[in-house]
């Protein structure tokens, strides 16, 4: 879904038909506040004008980041200047387009934003899944996992934790099983992903 925000009705409407002609689903908003009032229920990206009454495009960008929404933001402007572009990009804009723009430019930009959104959503899903798996481990298993992630051998881990290497091996097999890991590197990757979320 592409969420279009522009106070100019003709720009809003024409952009909608253009993106629809490229097979995209769109929703229009006349102001930043009206978009914020309605939580964008579907994944996708936001295309916003900068200069608008009440709340401008850059403030909208801040609000989206603050709310933790994962919708990449494409910023459009009728009077582009370098400082404005720098501000937008620094604030994490997916793209900065000067009006008027070609259909290829906006469609490509939207696709890139949608891909980025998808990737970021996938990553989030992965992190969330890893977190869930991690939550199934017992405290003792968490300790063993920490040793393994730190690159310690069974022997060293056994010594560190004051248990036998044999017990470590049993824990390790159970951890691999619970974490759906085929091998050690699989296990480490999932553990690190979960750690990133923490």
């Amino acid at each position: 879904m592409v969420y279009i925000v522009d106070d100019d009705a003709s720009v809003r409407e024409s952009l909608s038909v253009l993106l629809e002609s490229a097979g995209l689903k769109v929703r229009q908003y006349a102001s930043a506040t009206s978009l914020l009032a309605e939580h964008p229920s579907e994944p996708g990206c936001i295309v916003t004008d900068v200069r608008m009454p009440e709340m401008d495009g850059l403030e909208l960008q801040e609000q989206i980041a603050k709310r933790g929404w994962h919708h990449p933001v494409i910023v459009m402007t009728g009077h582009g200047d370098v400082p404005l572009a720098v501000r937008a990009m620094r604030a994490g804009a997916s793209d900065f387009l000067e009006k008027p723009f070609s259909d290829e430019a906006i469609i490509e930009s939207v696709h890139r934003a949608l891909d980025a959104g998808r990737r970021s959503r996938d990553k989030m899903a992965e992190i969330r899944a890893a977190q869930e798996l991690l939550d199934q481990l017992t405290p003792r298993e968490r300790h063993v996992l920490d040793q393994l992630v730190a690159g310690r051998s069974n022997k060293v881990a056994a010594y560190e934790l004051g248990i036998s290497p044999r017990t470590i091996e049993i824990h390790r097999a159970r951890i691999m099983d619970k974490m759906h890991a085929r091998n050690l590197s699989d296990l480490v990757r999932t553990a690190l992903a979960a750690a990133r979320a923490a």
């Binding site: 720009v11 024409s14 070609s102």
Partner: protein, 505 residues
Amino acid sequence: MISAAFGDPRSSALFEALISTAVDGIIVIDTEGKIQIYNAACERLFGYGLREVVGRNVKVLMPEPYRAEHDGYLANYHSSGEKRIIGIGREVVGRRKDGTTFPMYLSVGEGDAGGNRFFVGIIHDLSEIKAKEKERADSDRRLASIVESSEDIILSKTLDGVVTSWNGAAERIFGYTAEEMIGRSIAAIVPPDLWNEEKNILRRIRDGEQVKNYETRRRRKDGGLVEVSLTISPLRDAAGNIVGASKIGRDVSERKKAERHAADLRAELFHASRLSAMGRMTAAIAHEVNQPLTAVTNYVSAARRLLGAEQPAVLPRTRDMLEKAAEQALRAGAIIRNLRDFSEKRDSERSLENINQIVEEAVSLGLAGASVVHVAIDVRLTPDLPSLLIDKIQIQQTVLNLIRNAVEAMTGWPKRQIVVSSGWDGADFVHVTVADTGPGLPPHIAECLFEPFTTTKENGMGIGLNICRSIVEDHGGEIVLMPEVEEGAAFRIRLPVSGQIEGEA
């Protein structure tokens, strides 16, 4: 004659009275120069008493060199009979008892009394007359040196325009010396195209009028022109008849040049401020024009994509999009046209204008189309307002803008009335007010009303009032939204009364 009427004068009381009451001094000496008669007036004049001088040589009353020469005069007269002074009289110098001297007129005659020859001297004191003459001469010299050393041109001429005096400044500024000009017609320094002007001035002088600070041009000896400010006054003789004219003038070429320079600077300043107003508007213009261009691009691109699908069903949709694209292209054109209307009036030309006339013309322009939306316009002008030094077109544009804004603001509103009024604060500012009975302005708009991009209109550019403000401020005035009006909105333009701009520069 005297002898015949009164007998021997020496023995008579009449003789005594004549001698003693005479205001002039009377001295009689014998052939050797010894004083025989010395009257009361002489006592006052010389400070010697009668007894002190009787019998003494008259030389005692003379300073050198007359004292030394006197014996020679007498001896010469006795031997040759040549009269140097006798019967003629002349100006000589007397010597007082205290040694000081005084100018006097001495008349000398001679007589014979029974074979004894004698000389009579009558002494008229010239001290006062001489002092007055000296005073007058000093004063004349002082005046002459003031006139001569003056930086201003000072000259005089007869009523026929013949120059009678010509000072140093006149020599320097016009290049003619006093010798060259005195006795010659003033026309020599008047450019031929201004001869009539000179004639008019002389006519006014003949009528006893003074011509003050008259700015004109004069021609130098080398043919160059000089800008002068002249004050010409009638010159009267002792009887009060006008006999000529005095002319005091100043070379104002430099001042004029400075004034022109200041005017140029001011024009440049206005130009710069207009450019900066344009600069401020550039962002607005770009934004406003790019909006419809974006829409056009989007519609056309979408239409092309749909046509690429080659399905007959898409035709109505693509037609719709192309129509909308054309509409938006026209919108962009309209914006550019609006801007051009403003930018074409770049060259500001100011002249003294009657603001009421400008308002009336703006009202008639603003009314175009107003009757269609049934708006009533009430014009309340205050008569006899001072004239303003303004750019008529720009101010008219501003008033017109306010009227059109008012008309648009009331579209679809139940009460639609506009009051346009003019007035004067009695001092420095004249004002024009445009009030409407529309919905008024929301506070967040009122706050930044004159900033670019501020608009309440569906398709407004939000720069009209910004331009109005630039224009009014260029004129040294201001534009305000009147606070606390009962209904609608009221805008007031205040413009400085002519002369204010000069003072400001």
